[in-house]
């Protein structure tokens, strides 16, 4: 008799199960909504307490691509990024890059055409050379056409250096807007040592390296270009090696700065975050053990607060790196497409046999390569620094 009762009970329970499952599902949907509310409650305070005005103005400075990628407001972008809802579709980004490159090409196609036209005229003058009355007249005609091409090139080089200078300014603006907030949150979650260690690195980066590239590398590039142009005027006066030397010095100093920067920041990041992890752990232990009765609860609250700052900070880190990437994108594409165009022009002109014209064009394209490499290097440094700060705090949460 007893067995029968147990069997019946089991049957009833089994029949009931699907109903429970349905109930559980409804519960889940409710939890989704509740989770959103919970998110707002927990993170909203931290998020709303931060001042994003500087980052907003930096984002506005990025123009159309920044708007397409991140939307109009930094706060919303950070919220999406920390919830994992920031949609970055690869096709959209590729389309953005492609549109930017096409734009740069279209803007500069006229210059290419002008250079080609002058080269063709110069080649025709070369063909007509025997019919000139004297050798001197023919030489003068060749030189005049070369000087006209140089005038266009000098203007172009100057404007490209201007583009690079603006790009460096914009990048410094972005990084100096992102960093204070990142460091604030890093300190808020107990990373006082990492914060103290990173803040000089940040000062060096935003001030020092940007200034160095702007005030030393860009003039060197300009001078190197001018020397290349002058050196090709006549066969006898050659200062091409001096131009190559200046260019080489500029390249070397970029790589030295890059390596030193990487080494220093990586080491500092490691040292700072390990110490912070230990400090955090001690603090938690002290609160837990030395405050009677409510100590345990309090130390858990500290944990929640730290985790919350971490989530927001990682969101800001993502948005910051995206902003840096966007600010690098357009100038690099402009300069790279121009450099490619110079190479193309040199390749087209070579069959005409105007040696100094195509030599000058290809050398100047080499100089422009240095320009966009230096912008890329600066962008990479900023990228690394932001991800290092984000990573450092993750480490000190891990050490806790």
């Amino acid at each position: 008799m007893k067995r029968l009762w147990v069997f019946l009970l089991a049957c009833i329970l089994m029949l009931g199960c699907p109903a429970f499952a349905v109930l559980a599902q409804e519960d889940e949907e409710e939890t989704d909504l509740a989770a959103q509310e919970e998110w707002d409650r927990v993170y909203g305070d931290v998020l709303n307490g931060l001042d994003f005005s500087q980052m907003d103005s930096a984002l506005n400075g990025l123009g159309e691509p920044g708007y397409q990628l991140l939307g109009a407001s930094v706060r919303e972008a950070v919220m999406k990024a920390s919830q994992g809802e920031l949609k970055l579709d690869i096709w959209g980004i590729l389309k953005l890059i492609f549109a930017s490159a096409v734009d740069a090409f279209r803007k500069n196609a006229g210059i290419l055409l002008r250079i080609l036209l002058l080269a063709v005229i110069s080649a025709i003058l070369g063909v007509l050379k025997p019919s000139f009355s004297s050798q001197g007249v023919a030489d003068a005609a060749g030189m005049v056409s070369y000087l006209l091409i140089i005038a266009i090139l000098a203007q172009l080089l100057y404007s490209v250096v201007g583009v690079a200078r603006d790009a460096i300014d914009a990048m410094s603006g972005v990084i100096s807007a992102v960093f204070p907030i990142l460091l604030l949150l890093l300190t808020a979650m107990g990373g006082s040592m990492s914060g103290a260690v990173f803040s000089p690195a940040m000062a060096v980066l935003t001030g020092g390296i940007g200034l160095f590239i702007k005030n030393a590398i860009l003039p060197m590039v300009l001078i190197s270009g001018v020397m290349i142009m002058v050196s090709n005027i006549s066969e006898r006066v050659q200062i091409g090696k001096m131009a190559a030397f200046v260019k080489k010095i500029a390249g070397w100093s970029i790589s030295v700065v890059f390596v030193v920067f990487l080494g220093v920041t990586a080491l500092q990041g490691m040292a700072g975050s390990a110490i912070d992890g230990v400090t955090l752990r001690t603090a938690k232990f002290a609160i837990d053990k030395f405050v009677p009765i409510v100590g345990g609860m309090f130390s858990d609250t500290v944990d929640t607060l730290i985790g919350c700052s971490l989530v927001i900070k990682n969101g800001i880190g993502i948005v910051g790196t995206l902003m840096i990437a966007v600010s690098v994108l357009s100038p690099v594409l402009t300069i790279a497409s121009l450099s490619l165009m110079m190479n193309l022009a040199a390749a087209i002109i070579e069959p005409f046999g105007e040696k100094r014209i195509y030599k000058c064009l290809s050398d100047i394209s080499g100089v422009m390569t240095l320009l966009y490499v230096s912008i890329l290097a600066l962008g990479a440094m900023m990228f690394i620094l932001v991800s290092l700060v984000v990573g450092a705090s993750n480490v000190n949460i891990m050490m806790r």
Binding site: P219, I223, V226, M227, V230, I233, S234, V237, M242
Partner: protein, 57 residues
């Protein structure tokens, strides 16, 4: 920045002047000597930062 730019542009300027001078030189025995002199001027302009440094020491 200003010093580097000045140095580079001076070199370029001297190179242009040297080129022009070579163009209008009369052909003859004097041309050889004039060329050496012009070349020397260009080299001196290139080395001017070094010369300034030596003077300071």
């Amino acid at each position: 920045m200003k010093a580097i730019l000045e140095w580079g542009f001076h070199i370029a300027l001297v190179a242009v002047i040297v080129t022009l001078c070579e163009g209008i030189l009369p052909s003859g025995s004097i041309k050889k000597f004039a060329r050496v002199g012009l070349g020397l001027a260009l080299v001196l302009e290139m080395l001017s930062p070094l010369i300034k440094l030596v003077q300071q020491i």
